[in-house]
């Protein structure tokens, strides 16, 4: 699987995962000049949640979530605030979650979903 298709497949997987757990997804691949938010959703507890998805085709190169460096975490914070400002929701309570997706053979995958990590 090419990296771009891998990333898209990972986001699809997490999209279905969220829907099955009562999330309402508001936005997918919201993009501005400084970056992109993979998923924005309203959680069952009615909180705005930003989700960063990391996908890998094996664990050979470490856990997918290890790829989120302090720098990337900081960029996610800024993007989340930008999304809130542009939707007139500045000041609302929000969460940032991370999801690591690992694709094993034959299209099967595992999701490691971590809530409120940032």
């Amino acid at each position: 699987m090419r990296n771009q298709t891998l990333g898209a497949a990972g986001e699809d997987a997490v999209f279905h995962y969220l829907q099955s757990r009562g999330y309402t997804v508001l936005d997918r691949n919201w993009r501005i000049k400084t970056g992109e938010l993979d998923l924005v959703a309203i959680s069952p507890e009615k909180k705005i949640t930003f989700i960063e998805v990391k996908s890998r085709s094996s664990r050979k190169f470490g856990d997918p979530l290890e790829a989120i460096s302090a720098q990337k975490a900081h960029r996610l914070q800024k993007l989340a605030l930008a999304w809130l400002v542009m939707h007139g929701l500045w000041g609302s309570d929000y969460h940032i979650d991370c999801a690591g997706v690992i694709f094993t053979n034959e299209g099967r995958y595992e999701i490691d979903y971590r809530k409120g990590v940032l």
Binding site: D63, E66, D112, R114, V117, L118
Partner: protein, 505 residues
């Protein structure tokens, strides 16, 4: 259980402080935070522990790992926290289910392949642990012999991290054999190698009897270094207590393996004359290491070419010479190491070294000759009890068939004299003549009447300082012990004065 606690110790000087390694694993992005003022070697533990776990087939948590080394205010250094950190991580993940008792001390560095590696300072660490109520310890196999020297601790040693884990899971311990060290290596040096030098030999013997500091002066190639190197061969063996102290110091310095654990042979330390003050007295920016004066504790500190030493290096010896210990203050804290040694200085008589006999071959100006030995400061020289002139052996001495006395013979005389002194001091705090306090010397350890008169005359004529007065009396006691006199005679005192002044100076 996502939280666990393993006990270890941090060493500051020779004193260990209890450190609890607490490991917490919580949800969140994978990360590793090490708290509690770690130094560079300790901060690098993450990479070592991670590789060691993975390569031992053990799980590494891809979660938020927080490790706290408490007490938090105590600066910690060294790689020996690798093992407790790894064990804490495994317990927090549930791989090891047993709790770690507070009486168990663990220490060891991890290799990337999961081997347990040698660490410094195990001996003093475990001695301190004993005072905190520890009953057992886990150490790397390479430290087993050293750790076994601590009485009253159950020592388990392992070669691999996986063996330690297996032990906690099943209680099984791999076979351990205490490898008995080869008998203490006998000295390869012997006083028979030294030709002639009757006066210098005598000076060495008296110095060894009472622990009196020595200055050897002589032209190059006459045997100053040979003589000094052979002093440990005539000193009595270390006591069990001294041997433990010496081993603890060498354990911290990392020189215990080459020296041998609990060796009874007095150490001989000969720093080069270009040495720095820090190397001499101890120090360093994060771990305060023992210097040459502490490595020579209970043994001999020999400084060859003493006048060539940098300014201040020799004078830094004055404090340990007086107190028998050094106290070093650094950012991490204040550390005291024992530093009670026999100081032996060697010097040439002049810069070209040939000012002996009639001094005909000497090319130095009279000013140079006068200034050369002045590089040894007055206060330092005042602390030297015996000055011995080492002459080039004569043709007659070189041809003499009979070899000089052996170290064994001299050592026996030294031991006998020390026994006499020890019997005299059996109710006192000190054991050898050089340690008699001045007040006690004047009150209870006087020489015979005419000997004291001689000493008082020297004092009145300002040929002796007050310190010199006491030093001469102490040397006189050693001379008396060697001769079997009950109290120093006038003759013994005279000899002590001549030895102190070294007639030629």
């Amino acid at each position: 259980m996502a939280l666990s606690k393993v006990r270890s110790l941090a060493l500051l000087g020779l004193v260990g402080h209890i450190v609890d390694v607490e490991v917490d694993i919580s949800d969140g992005l994978p990360g590793y935070t090490l708290l509690g003022l770690p130094d560079a070697a300790l901060s690098e533990s993450r990479e070592r522990v991670r590789s060691a776990l993975v390569n031992s087939g053990l799980p590494w948590p891809n979660k938020k790992v927080t490790i706290s080394l408490s007490p938090a205010w105590l600066p910690k250094s060294g790689s020996h926290f690798d093992l407790p950190i790894a064990l804490g991580l495994l317990a927090a993940q549930g791989v090891i289910t047993s709790e770690f008792p507070e009486s168990l001390i663990t220490m060891g560095e991890l290799g990337l392949d999961g081997t347990l590696r040698f660490v410094r300072g195990v001996l003093p660490t475990l001695i301190s642990a004993l005072n905190f109520g520890a009953t057992s310890a886990i150490v790397p196999t390479e430290n087993f012999q050293e750790a076994s020297a601590v009485p009253g601790l159950q020592i388990r040693s392992f070669t691999y991290l996986s063996e330690v884990v297996h032990f906690f899971q099943s209680g099984e311990v791999p076979m351990q054999e205490l490898v008995h060290p080869a008998e203490s290596p006998t000295h390869s040096l012997d006083l028979t190698d030294v030709v002639g030098q009757i006066a210098a030999r005598r000076a060495l013997e008296i110095s060894a009897i009472g622990g009196h500091h020595l200055l050897l002066i002589g032209p190059p190639g006459t045997g100053k270094t040979m003589l000094a190197e052979r002093i440990p061969t005539i000193l009595p063996a270390l006591t069990a207590q001294e041997s433990l102290e010496v081993s603890a110091i060498h354990s911290v310095a990392g020189s215990l393996t080459s020296r041998g654990v609990l060796t009874r042979i007095p150490p001989f330390v000969a720093p080069h004359h270009t040495t720095t003050t820090t190397a001499m007295v101890g120090g360093g920016s994060h771990a305060v290491k023992p210097g040459a004066v502490s490595l020579a504790h209970a043994g001999v500190l020999f400084i060859d070419e003493a006048p060539e030493c940098a300014n201040g290096v020799l004078d830094s010896l004055r404090q340990p010479l007086e107190s028998g210990s050094v106290t070093i203050s650094r950012a991490v804290g204040t550390v005291t190491y024992p530093a009670s040694f026999l100081l032996v200085l060697a010097a040439n008589p002049c810069p070209c070294g040939k000012f002996n006999g009639r001094g005909r071959a000497c090319t130095c100006s009279s000013l140079q000759i006068r200034n050369y030995l002045k590089k040894l400061s007055g206060p330092l020289l005042d602390r030297i009890d015996i000055r011995a002139f080492v002459e080039a052996p004569t043709r007659f001495e070189m041809a003499a068939a009979a070899a000089g006395e052996s170290s064994e013979l001299v050592k026996r005389r030294v031991s006998d004299a020390r026994k006499i002194a020890a019997a005299r001091f059996k109710d006192e705090r000190w054991r050898i003549n050089s340690q008699i306090p001045s007040s006690e010397l004047r009150a209870r350890y006087k020489a015979e009447r005419d000997g004291m008169t001689l000493l008082h005359n020297e004092l009145d004529s300002e040929r002796l300082s007050a310190r010199g007065f006491h030093k001469v009396l102490r040397v006189a006691w050693s001379i008396a012990d060697a001769a079997g006199h009950i109290r120093p005679t006038k003759d013994d005192v005279e000899q002590a004065i001549v030895m102190r002044e070294g007639a030629f100076l």
